[in-house]
């Protein structure tokens, strides 16, 4: 069990949670969080938003019962973390773009630590958040879109590596744009399939890929965009 350092609201329904401790993790990896004893049953997966010496941070959207319970946490409360899990983003080659839709921006803040010159595209449906934080961390461009289609701002041919994370619809558009643009960039999607074990043992997070089935939790959550069959 670890201790909550703070849990502050950064926009309507969006919170930034900091947990004390010495945590490891690569960009794009996630933790399984549990702020309750028996109910609800499953822990909830959240991407690493930030790691500093004495703490790890998450950025989350209240989507249902579990994240609602997270939102009630106060400094000093206890929470259980398991991780880091998943493969994370592979090392990028060349010029890099991060494309986040909504709460899908979460993993990129931590990723900027390793790739501090990436261009960042942040798409919000309503209120934007964390934009200044992102600006403060990259020497590249930060493009913000509110209410539109964030992908319209991304020139797939201008990058060597493109990481994307966001709602299902956005990832479908990423796949289309990859084909349509004929880009040579390596394009990645980070998936948010529902999970149970989080470590590759139960097969409930299965991802249909071109040649086989993979596990979102252990083989992912990051996949090459062209590899995944989004349904």
């Amino acid at each position: 069990m670890s201790e909550v350092l703070f849990n502050e609201q950064v926009a309507a329904g969006v919170y930034r949670l900091a947990v004390a401790g010495n945590f490891a993790g690569n960009m794009g990896q996630f933790y399984m969080l549990r702020a309750w004893d028996r109910y609800p049953l499953l822990s909830r997966p959240l991407s690493i938003f930030n790691i500093i010496e004495d703490r790890i941070e998450f950025l989350y959207l209240v989507a249902g019962e579990g994240t609602e319970l997270f939102s009630r946490l106060k400094a000093g409360d206890r929470i259980n973390l398991e991780g880091p899990m998943g493969n994370g983003f592979p090392e990028p080659a060349g010029k890099t773009a991060f494309v986040g839709g909504g709460i899908g921006i979460a993993p990129f803040y931590y990723a900027l630590e390793q790739i501090p010159d990436a261009d960042v595209f942040l798409g919000f449906s309503k209120e934007p958040y964390m934009v200044e934080e992102f600006r403060g961390r990259t020497s590249g461009r930060v493009v913000v879109d509110v209410g539109g289609v964030i992908l319209d701002n991304v020139d797939f041919n201008a990058y060597d590596t493109i990481y994307t994370c966001g709602p299902h619809k956005m990832l479908e558009a990423v796949q289309r744009e990859q084909l349509h643009s004929g880009t040579k960039a390596q394009v990645y999607v980070s998936l948010e399939n529902r999970m149970a074990c989080g470590i590759g043992a139960c097969l409930v997070c299965s991802v249909k890929c071109k040649d086989s089935r993979k596990k979102a939790c252990a083989d992912g959550p990051v996949f090459r965009a062209e590899e995944v069959v989004l349904l």
Partner: protein, 310 residues
């Protein structure tokens, strides 16, 4: 000295904590969190003769204190298991249970024959990878055939008889709570020479997405597991234990050492832990340690003292 051990058809279980099929892979992943040799046993992911892709669409949904799954027996197939996983299983010092599924009688029998051959070959080389077969006649997520076998006693009898005839390995039959008569089913298994029964598999259940106006699962129904079903599972284990004299592996919603004690008092020889592995990655170890504490506090030196006392 505390003794938690127990023997089923000659197979030694150092303690009653066995990991349930489909929730523990083949052990590898949880092996990173603790020493698998501490466990009483492991029942591997359900295997079929041929590789299976499993079900499309969403595969998991949480319900109040329960879990619906619709994995649909995704597995690499028996040959791949024997080739890729068994070398590691050979090294394990815990009861290794192969969970055998199938879509047709032919599948079941051919699968069992492959396992038999493999066991013989390994035996010659002085090795063992599989200690026991757990015959799954009850997966509710496989539409073609699989379900039917687990429902009616006389349909199931055929499969049990055929598999019993072709395997020399200890054979436990995994029963479904969807069976018309789970007690009759267990009695049949005993009659047909099974070495034990394990119960329960998941309940056939449903969740509707009222906005999309369809089942959340492509396969319509899914399997319910977890603490929600424990009271029913315990009743079934109690009933079955009273009705047969072969050993019973009890499971369904176990998530504490106290739960395990209940199942043992109801008559189970060993128990299995499924869904709780997801909630607690170190479930195996912590449950065993919890049992030790209970035995010490209650002055129980051998679990036989409390087994089936109800």
């Amino acid at each position: 000295m505390m003794d938690m051990s127990c023997k089923i058809a000659g197979v030694h279980f150092k303690n009653p904590v066995v990991m349930a099929s489909g929730t523990f892979g083949f052990g590898k992943e949880y092996g990173k969190y603790y020493d698998l040799n501490r466990l009483g046993g492991i029942s591997g992911k359900g295997l079929t003769l041929h590789p299976k892709e499993g079900n499309s669409g969403l595969r998991v949904y949480e319900t109040p204190s329960g879990l619906l799954n619709s994995v649909g027996l995704e597995n690499p197939g028996i040959p791949a298991f024997l080739r890729d996983e068994c070398p590691r299983w050979e090294q394990l010092d815990t009861a290794r249970i192969l969970n055998l599924g199938g879509n047709s009688m032919q599948d079941y029998v051919d699968g069992a024959l492959l396992i038999e051959e493999d066991a013989a070959a390994r035996r010659k080389a002085g090795h063992t990878a599989v200690d026991m077969i757990e015959l799954n006649i009850s997966c509710p997520n496989v539409k073609a055939g699989g379900m039917a076998y687990g429902i009616q006693t006389e349909t199931a009898r055929e499969v049990v008889r055929e598999i019993r005839a072709v395997t020399s390995l200890p054979l436990v039959i995994k029963l479904s709570p969807n069976a018309e008569d789970i007690v009759g089913m267990a009695v049949m298994c005993e009659q047909e020479g099974a070495d034990g029964v394990s119960l329960i598999n998941t309940f056939s259940a449903m969740k509707i997405d009222i906005h999309k106006r369809r089942s959340v699962f492509d396969n319509q129904y899914a399997g319910l597991s977890g603490p929600a079903i424990k009271p029913i599972a315990l009743r079934m284990v109690h009933q079955v234990s009273k009705a047969v004299s072969i050993p019973v592996m009890g499971m369904g919603g176990i998530s504490s050492a106290e739960d395990i004690i209940e199942f043992i008092m109801a008559g189970a020889s060993v128990i299995q832990v499924g869904t709780y592995n997801f909630i607690n990655l170190r479930a195996g170890i912590q449950l065993i340690e919890g049992l030790e504490v209970f035995m010490e506090q209650q002055n129980v030196t051998n679990l036989d003292e409390i087994r089936g006392i109800l």
